[in-house]
Symmetry: C2
Subunit: 206 residues, 2 copies
């Protein structure tokens, strides 16, 4: 029993790394098993298909990322500085990946959305749920800032969606240029999207 | 000679359509030839590899899209309304694709950036050039607006980059949700990113 759950964990870890580096379609079950060091029979013992495996990888990846988001967004301090830390952590993450893999890997959920959202409905639905939750989490923190009189937004959810879209767009550039510094402008852009009229003052407060 | 150039055009058309629907890795040369109705030998007469074909598809797709961008951005009228028309045309394009293919296809350049920018250097370089040109074109129109006193931006290039990032981020959502209406907020978000403090007044002017 110890051995089999070990094999499952090895498959998930290998698949996560390969999926981030190469995307879904370029990935084969044989290659995943090879990287994980487990026989192909083990793969089909745990997962009925590559799609089922990728759904499990998405869930594991999101569980870890969500913990990071919650730790930062629910942490101490004023709401806008917490949001700023989240966006800065995104840049740091891309920098860490670049150090480990030699390439900025981008956001797994954004990558899969553009590669294949119109091909695999189960994956599309899962990715939609994740992005909805991300928008909810950003919405909560900017609503808190608005309720403190720090922002004058009428539609916080729409603003939160534009912040997450900006994050995904700049992460796309960071991946394309293999340069995490493409994310430097994320916080000033976010302030602009939140209608923070006096950007300098808010940046100093944050 | 008429027949061979016809075969080349058929291959390019079929490859463009398949690439937009399925991405790069999921695409095989045999499938492209089958869709184009040409023998596989013809393929290698015109293109030395799938990558060479995809570079040609990118160039053709960008030549057409660039003509649209230039027609709109260099057209009549004030600069900000021209920028607004460009962003609205993006939504219309996604709506047209959805009508033709049953799915929002997103932006070919964004799709390829996230699927494979860390795998094929020639494609990555071509995509970088395209996005640089897009940012240049948006920069030119917002610089024109700034010089007319309609915007108070210090760094127009950075602002243009954030506008293109927002476009890509919202196109990602449109593809993920298979819903072009995800792009409705592109213009208000763009105004916010341009530091258009009085959004309502600018929206009315536009």
């Amino acid at each position: 029993m110890g051995r089999t759950s070990d094999a499952k964990a090895k498959i998930l870890t290998a698949a996560e790394s390969l999926l981030e580096q190469r995307g879904y379609s370029a990935l084969g079950v044989a290659e995943i098993c090879n990287a994980a060091g487990v026989p192909k029979g083990s793969f089909y013992y745990f997962f009925e298909s590559k799609e089922a495996l990728v759904l499990a990888v998405i869930d594991a990846h999101w569980a870890a990322e969500r913990r990071d988001w919650e730790r930062i967004l629910h942490g101490d301090g004023d709401p806008l500085p917490r949001l700023r830390r989240l966006l800065e952590a995104t840049e740091e993450r891309q920098r860490t990946d670049q150090g480990s893999y030699g390439a900025v890997l981008g956001c797994m959920f954004g990558n899969l959305s553009l590669e294949m959202s119109n091909q695999a409905d189960a994956i599309r639905m899962r990715l939609q749920e994740i992005f909805e939750t991300e928008v909810d989490m950003v919405d909560a923190v900017i609503t808190e800032a608005r309720d403190r009189g720090e922002l004058a937004l009428s539609d916080t959810r729409e603003a939160a969606r534009s912040v997450v879209a900006q994050l995904e767009g700049l992460v796309l550039f960071a991946k394309l240029y293999n340069n995490p510094a493409q994310l430097h402008s994320l916080w000033p852009s976010c302030l602009a999207l939140l209608g923070a009229v006096d950007r300098e003052a808010l940046a100093v407060r944050a």
